[in-house]
């Protein structure tokens, strides 16, 4: 038990950059101006897409999840009790044409130098299963709950946590 306790504390103190997926080329990325059908084709296989300004610089500007697509794919029922800017995005009405139209632009992210415990707390607070790792507005990796579970579990099985990175 003491050993387990020590392990989890060490795990919390690790930096995000040590556990994140650094294979940016393998992340689901799309340009802001890309057509909505391209978004749908990616989300047919993935749960989310990170939206960047352009593929060369990879400046992160938004995220699209399955839930975002649900709201534009389903028939639009405009609520009769709404104030402020109405959300009119809909495939049916032709008001969701690009990735930029559909994305959520308020992104919960983490810094590569942050501790894992802070990233975990953020995931809990915002009920998220993944965070983009961003440095100077550029996406440099992704931290998913899957990865964290896998890394921690393998550490409990006497494998070094940072085995992948070192190897």
């Amino acid at each position: 038990m003491v050993k387990q306790n020590k392990l989890i504390k060490e795990f919390y103190e690790l930096k995000v950059s040590q556990l994140m997926d650094k294979r940016v080329w393998d992340l689901p990325l799309i340009e802001e101006k890309e057509d909505i059908h391209h978004v749908l084709s990616i989300l047919g296989a993935r749960n989310h897409i990170w939206v960047v300004k352009d593929m060369d610089r990879k400046e992160l500007v938004g995220v699209i999840t399955e839930h975002d697509v649900l709201s534009i794919l389903a028939p639009k029922h405009f609520p009769s009790y709404v104030f402020g800017m109405p959300d009119i995005r809909s495939i049916q009405h032709g008001t969701a044409n690009t990735a930029g139209d559909v994305m959520a632009n308020k992104i919960i992210m983490c810094d590569p130098d942050e501790k894992i415990i802070d990233a975990l707390m953020r995931m809990v607070k915002f009920k998220l299963r993944r965070l983009p790792v961003v440095k100077d507005k550029i996406i440099v990796g992704e931290l998913t709950l899957h990865q964290l579970i896998r890394k921690y579990y393998s550490a409990t099985q006497y494998h070094p946590i940072l085995e992948d990175e070192e190897g």
Binding site: K76, F78, S80, Y81, V82, F83, G84, M85, P86, I88, S90, H93, G94, T95, N97, A104, N105, K106, I107, I108, K125, F126
Partner: protein
């Protein structure tokens, strides 16, 4: 002392008001009309029933005597009015939360022209109508102000039904409606504090200072403030901090002499830009939409019977005034927004479609009328007449606009 008859009577009224508001709101929603109209009518019915049937009556059921409280008095009690006024703060706070500065920046030039034309023309026409019918200058300004802000809900639903929401016209109307709301709120703050020309200058300076201090600087530090709220690991403590910011902003705006509601709107914009707002927006809507905002609309409806009564002798003048104001509201938007649309390069038909789409008035018109009454700018029979006119204006423009939009789009391929 919390256990007073008055306190529980107000709670009883709130319960009845919420039930009536939601049932009638739903019926209007089923009829494809704004739920808000149903809620206002709930207020009219409730206050009418309270005055003419139920007030201070004793009902004997078997051996029990049930005394109904004087609902007419309760509608005007400080406790009920307090809930209704908090409803206004929530309404503007939510409007601010839903207003995206980044989307506003992307809005086309056309929307801005349309908004400016759609504010100036109705404002001037409303003002001149007031002067023509012997209202004072400040009362006439309020009448003009009531006609400025568009409520876009009705238009959006109609444009969706016609499948033209994705056109330039749809985008221009949506952008224009957001802009004219903001202009309307700023003008309202201006009018609330105005007394003379010097006041006008001073209020203008105060509004500018308020925006610089509380919006610009607020945007710089809000992240730090909200992160402190986030660290208080108690249930919904982050929501508590958000509500505290809403109330403090309203308080400081009021203390600065520019009306508390502008503080609520600025607080909404400020928090809405922050990434953490995604955590609380649904909670704020639950409190606002579920409790305070319906009470505000019921209160608006109830004020019709309860204020200073109605003089039969002024019936003709009132009818004439209502017809004039409703006509000016329609003409003002069609001409003002239409001219704005023409200036931005649209043709005559498109300009007419934009103008017609901007006709509906709703929440901000009611807020302006109510705020002017509670600030003592409108009093007595004038307050009653203008409130009645505003309610009829919201109902007529909401019912009429879908037909007008469909007529202007009739020949669209």
């Amino acid at each position: 002392m919390i256990y007073t008859d008055e306190f529980f009577n107000v709670l009883f009224l709130i319960a009845i008001a919420l039930i009536f508001a939601r049932v009638l709101g739903y019926l209007f929603h089923k009829l494809k009309q704004p739920a808000v109209i149903g809620e206002i009518i709930a207020g009219i019915i409730l206050s009418g029933l309270s005055i003419f049937i139920f007030s201070n009556q004793n009902f004997i059921i078997f051996n029990y005597t049930i005394s109904t409280p004087d609902l007419g008095e309760l509608f005007q009690s400080s406790e009920f009015v307090l809930f209704a006024e908090i409803g206004i703060l929530f309404l503007l706070f939510i409007s601010g939360l839903e207003t995206s500065i980044s989307k506003l920046k992307k809005t086309e030039k056309a929307s801005f022209y349309v908004a400016i034309g759609g504010v100036i023309f109705p404002l001037v026409l409303g003002f001149l109508s007031g002067i023509l019918l012997n209202f004072s200058v400040i009362e006439s300004v309020v009448i003009g102000l009531i006609l400025t802000a568009t409520s876009v809900g009705v238009t959006v639903r109609t444009l969706m039904d016609l499948n033209v929401l994705n056109t330039d016209i749809g985008a221009t109307i949506l952008g224009g409606a957001v802009f004219d709301d903001i202009i309307g709120i700023i003008l309202l703050a201006f009018v609330m504090g105005i007394g003379s020309l010097m006041d006008a200058v001073w209020i203008g300076i105060k509004i500018a200072i308020f925006f610089i201090l509380f919006l610009y600087i607020g945007l710089k530090i809000i992240d730090k403030v909200l992160s402190i709220g986030e660290k208080l690991l108690l249930p919904k403590s982050f929501l508590s901090i958000t509500l505290a910011i809403l109330i403090l902003y309203s308080f400081f705006a009021y203390e600065a002499g520019i009306s508390g509601i502008i503080g609520a709107f600025v607080a909404g914009i400020l928090i809405g830009q922050n990434v953490r707002s995604t955590k609380i927006i649904e909670d704020v809507k639950a409190i606002g939409y579920g409790f305070f905002i319906p009470i505000f609309f019921v209160y608006v409806g109830s004020s019709l019977f309860i204020d200073k009564g109605f003089e039969i002798s002024s019936f003709d003048t009132t009818i004439l005034f209502i017809i004039l104001i409703v006509s000016m509201s329609i003409v003002g938007k069609i001409v003002g927004c239409g001219m704005g649309a023409r200036l931005s390069g649209m043709n005559n038909k498109e300009a007419l479609q934009v103008g017609v789409g901007m006709i509906p008035r709703m929440e901000l018109a009611l807020i302006i009328a109510t705020a002017a009454i509670s600030h003592g700018i409108l009093t007595g029979i004038v307050a009653h007449t203008i409130l009645l006119t505003t309610i009829i204006l919201t109902i007529v423009t909401s019912l009429l606009t879908p037909f007008l939009i469909k007529a202007t789009f009739k020949n669209k391929n």
